[in-house]
Subunit: 224 residues, 2 copies
């Protein structure tokens, strides 16, 4: 089983580095955003209790999450906002430069191309690909759409880390296979169909329909 590998250990894990539980990884960006908002306020420290009341997590969960990475806090003061922020920055890997391409320059691909938040997270958008000759050559966010036939070469030559997959569902698996073969390390998958990749490839299923389903399910539960 190669799908659903987000939470499995990679078997080449070194014993010295304890893998961060997925649950914590999911909360880290929330802490990060919150801390970022506090950076330019004139307070230097924030306590887990304060964070808790703002963010809706319990203070002990916050302390626990953060203690996973060492002892950042200062007793009777709380956490140094700048220090914690930059540590989260590092833990989340934002200080590492990562290269990205978008496959599929349809409605979603174009939206992704215009997303402003890549740089802050260390991503550099390097290319956009499509297979439609009417789309190849168009420019979005100063990037000219290239023929997807050239993607394998481009990815390999430029050592691209991550691909955002925004092709139609029927093309999803085929395209994922191509990406893996070309040496991609992670796939940010927007197609709404299950995609299988080898275990060592990071696959994030950014399935938006799940959100819609959840609302629908909850609406009905309420109406009963």
């Amino acid at each position: 089983m190669t799908a659903k590998n987000e939470s499995k250990n990679s078997d080449n894990a070194k014993p010295t580095v304890k893998e961060i539980p997925d649950k914590i990884v999911r909360r880290l960006p929330h802490y990060y955003v919150q801390l970022k908002n506090m950076l330019n306020k004139d307070v230097e420290y924030v306590s887990s209790e304060q964070l808790a009341s703002i963010m809706g997590y319990s203070s002990s969960l916050i302390r626990r999450d953060l203690s996973h990475f060492g002892q950042f806090g200062k007793k009777s003061y709380g956490y140094d906002i700048h220090c914690l922020y930059s540590n989260l920055h590092r833990i989340l890997g934002f200080n590492h430069e990562k290269s990205m391409v978008i496959i599929g320059a349809g409605f979603l691909g174009r939206a992704l191309a215009n997303n402003k938040s890549y740089e802050e997270r260390g991503y550099l958008l390097r290319g956009i690909f499509d297979k439609d000759p009417a789309i190849i050559g168009l420019e979005f966010n100063n990037l000219r759409v290239m023929d997807v036939e050239r993607a394998p070469e481009f990815i390999a030559e430029n050592n691209i880390d991550v691909a955002a997959l925004a092709v139609p569902a029927l093309e999803a698996q085929k395209t994922a296979d191509m990406l893996v073969k070309a040496g991609i390390k992670g796939i940010w998958d927007f197609t709404e169909t299950p995609v299988e990749v080898p275990e060592d490839i990071i696959l994030i299923e950014q399935n938006m329909n799940d959100g819609l389903c959840k609302i629908s399910c909850k609406l009905v539960q309420k109406s009963k």
Copy 2:
């Protein structure tokens, strides 16, 4: 604390209907998609073991999830694919018609407007709103963009259930407040900033950056 209310009980819950755990709700659409793919194959039944090997969940988890809603299975055969599919359809609320609007007709709003999968899930896209005069009046997917000033009236009069929130982060809370006041029941939130709503409003934070952060975090972990 009104944020992070996705998993909290609504306090007006009737004791007869047991609330479906969030973890299960998240898996239901996956079962649904899988079953759908099987519909037109010439098999009538599928066992939890078969589903397990396809989907990557354990068979025991699948049986447990499904048993939450009654006894769908047939011993020594498995689950009737059509029957299970239509039950999931009902449980997910896809047979209920739900109305939706999109707030913000930028890159993402336009992508959402062209999403093809609403109908199957019982959503009817009823309107798109923006505040930019240069955008108001444009047409996407046969819907003319309306002035967001008219949204409260439109939502109230047409009894709109769900709003997709695709405005800039700085406008997010303000717009959410407007939606709640207008009587919206659920918000599908794409802004990347925390939004607070009253407890009885269904808020799904479709935060895409979390996906990017996760990839980044995992890439660094691997490279160490």
